[in-house]
């Protein structure tokens, strides 16, 4: 498939009844399966949009880019839920500086799906820390099962990542639509629970 961002495409418009939008951030390190999940859920071929950033702040070896400017791409997809709501899935690396490239990206989001690779749990720490530190976003963790990744019990993953109590953890091969939709459903249900608890507390 490929993202084919450079090919001209005919716009795939939403149904005329849709007049509301919500978003979920799909967050994780490079190669952890963000685009796989987005692609599995999206009703349109995955889209990509780029912003410029200085290489110094991306952490790319500046010696390899004399102009010291590079672009960062954000892949995203969309699925219509019900008759009037479009749900957008924005894939972004874990560091806050990337979210800030797209103005208001985290503001108003339902929550963040944090993709975790059990072969490299350490890189997930930073992602979770950043989310906790800079946002109030509800978080659900998705353990993407790669063919060669060790199978950990979800409780082990939870303990290893030191997740706040109540944070849902789901696992599975997110190439399949049912698993990917399940991950989203889990996040939205968790967000709703938190919101209701907030209402009770208020």
């Amino acid at each position: 498939m490929g993202s084919a961002a450079s090919e001209p495409r005919t716009a795939q418009h939403l149904a005329p009844t849709v007049d509301r939008s919500v978003k979920v951030l799909v967050v994780g390190a490079f190669g952890v399966g963000k685009t796989t999940l987005i692609r599995a859920v999206s009703e349109i071929p995955m889209l990509s949009t780029e912003e410029s950033i200085t290489t110094a702040s991306v952490g790319v070896d500046p010696r390899r880019d004399e102009k010291r400017t590079t672009t960062v791409a954000m892949d995203f997809g969309r699925v219509t839920v019900g008759s009037d709501t479009a749900l957008y899935l924005f894939g972004t690396p874990g560091q806050r500086r990337f979210w800030d490239l797209w103005s208001g990206l985290a503001d108003g989001a339902v929550g963040a799906l944090v993709m975790v690779d059990t072969r490299d749990l350490a890189q997930s720490f930073e992602v979770l820390d950043q989310l906790e530190e800079h946002t109030r976003l509800p978080v659900a963790v998705v353990v993407n099962e790669f063919p060669d990744s060790p199978r950990h019990a979800l409780d082990e993953v939870r303990a290893a990542l030191d997740l706040p109590k109540g944070t849902p953890v789901v696992s599975g091969d997110v190439r399949g639509r049912p698993r990917a939709v399940e991950a989203l459903t889990t996040l939205v249900a968790h967000a709703l629970e938190l919101r209701r608890a907030e209402g009770v507390a208020a």
């Binding site: 961002a5 450079s6 495409r9 716009a11 418009h13 939403l14 149904a15 005329p16 849709v18 007049d19 509301r20 939008s21 919500v22 978003k23 889209l47 990509s48 949009t49 780029e50 912003e51 410029s52 200085t54 110094a56 102009k67 010291r68 400017t69 954000m74 995203f76 969309r78 699925v79 219509t80 839920v81 019900g82 709501t85 479009a86 749900l87 957008y88 924005f90 490239l101 797209w102 103005s103 208001g104 990206l105 503001d107 108003g108 989001a109 339902v110 109030r136 976003l137 509800p138 939709v181 989203l184 459903t185 939205v188 249900a189 967000a191 709703l192 919101r195 209701r196 209402g199």
Partner: protein
Amino acid sequence: MHSDGYRDHPVRSYVLTGGRAHPTRNTLRPETLLRAVDDGRELPGTAGRHERALLQTCRGTLALAELAAYLHLPVSLVAVLVSDLVDGGYLAVLSTPVHDLPDTDLLEEVLDGLRGL
């Protein structure tokens, strides 16, 4: 955004947006839904090709990020163009932006929708 060394193709963006770096409204988000206003009014002759392409692409409903992807322009730049077109009455903002976190009604509907997929 204007720290030393920040070079967002300065000349090009400056020209495309008529010299402005920020949109006239700050309620635009990547997921904000937009649609061209279909009242037969033509864009003034001074409008650029990007404004024209934007309206053409937005004959049906699309989010700001989708417009940017189809036009191969950064979201930050498209937001400026969109703002102007909304101010001029050529483009309509369909969705109200959610701030902070979505309310329970919206979350319930999204959940129902997801379960119905």
